[in-house]
Symmetry: C2
Subunit: 199 residues, 2 copies
């Protein structure tokens, strides 16, 4: 008799575990879903079940894949001899949206952290070093976040790759496109000034 | 080959249609789901499919139900001769969380709006009048939002029910529990003063 409420409450509790949704907004989302159950809820449930079943981690780079290997690792056109190292699949997606990078990726899945017991093994850094040899890589681009943890991890990887015949680069730091100096932090302005280019 | 990305993009597009999620937060939510696909994504998909299939509108009051009639309309203990009129199922849930009301509900599904062509028919007001007679209702509580639209609709319902042997009431307006006068709008303070009670 009270089954309907229980199931809806359970659905709300599950939705509330998504990042960006709290108990209140999850309730609002579920109500919206129930109102649009034919047009939105049913297709969403179906697509979610499908992705839950098929998606997995690429055995090579850590990207999300349907098979054992992701689209990018499978694509011979992406074997440019460049590997872009990112912290997260979200960062890989951001790079792909940019569309400027034509090589392959290596997703660390986090940053080095002594506190959380995340070492080089956990981040797949030995696997990266192995790939550098096996795939004839000429350049490793460290596209890690400009945070202390990201930069510590970048330094560790750069040291681990030292002595090999390859370029190690990182993303340029400076004023973002459309950025206004007045709203930028001092560190960014200093970095942009240090890396100034002739006009 | 690019099937994985297409399906994930489609899932993101569906998630972005939820209230409170935009394209960016939908992407973040989907990434989180893929990471927790066994523990969160699969059960969420299953529960969503289940609710999409079973949930419907209560034929009597407009609440969400599994059968033709909702739990509250089915429960003889809730036949107290009181009907609480709310705009939305979310408002019904809010009333139920309060736990103070023991009667039944009537969910309008909106407010009167000439612009959006929402008339009394669309809000089930004739159905409400019919219920008042059929269920021996002694009190109709107009728990509509304290907005212009909500109050216009409340006045319309009060007029439509005039001349019958029943009390028509509305929720009290005043200072919320824990509210600080300094942070309240002038209208609320005025309403609370007008409705002041002996201490």
């Amino acid at each position: 008799m009270s089954g309907a409420r229980d199931e809806i409450e359970e659905l709300i509790a599950l939705m509330a575990r998504l990042p960006g949704l709290g108990p209140r907004s999850a309730r609002r989302a579920v109500l919206h879903l129930i109102r649009k159950r034919a047009g939105l809820m049913a297709p969403l449930a179906q697509m979610m079940a499908h992705v839950a079943e098929t998606a997995r981690e690429c055995a090579c780079c850590g990207n999300i894949a349907v098979g054992a290997i992701c689209d990018i690792c499978e694509n011979p056109a992406r074997a440019t001899g460049e590997i872009c190292v990112v912290e997260d699949v979200a960062d890989l997606w951001a790079m792909e949206r940019g569309g400027a990078f034509k090589g392959r990726y290596h997703v660390l899945g986090g940053t080095l952290s002594a506190l959380d017991a995340v070492g080089p093994e956990e981040l797949g850094i030995p696997k990266l070093i192995e790939r550098v040899g096996a795939e004839g890589v000429r350049e490793v681009i460290l596209a890690l976040n400009a945070t202390v943890e990201g930069q510590t991890t970048a330094h560790y990887i750069a040291e681990a790759l030292e002595g090999r015949d390859l370029r190690i680069t990182s993303l340029a730091q400076g004023v973002p496109i459309g950025g206004e100096l007045d709203y930028l932090d001092d560190g960014t302005i200093q970095a942009a000034l240090r890396a100034r280019r002739s006009f």
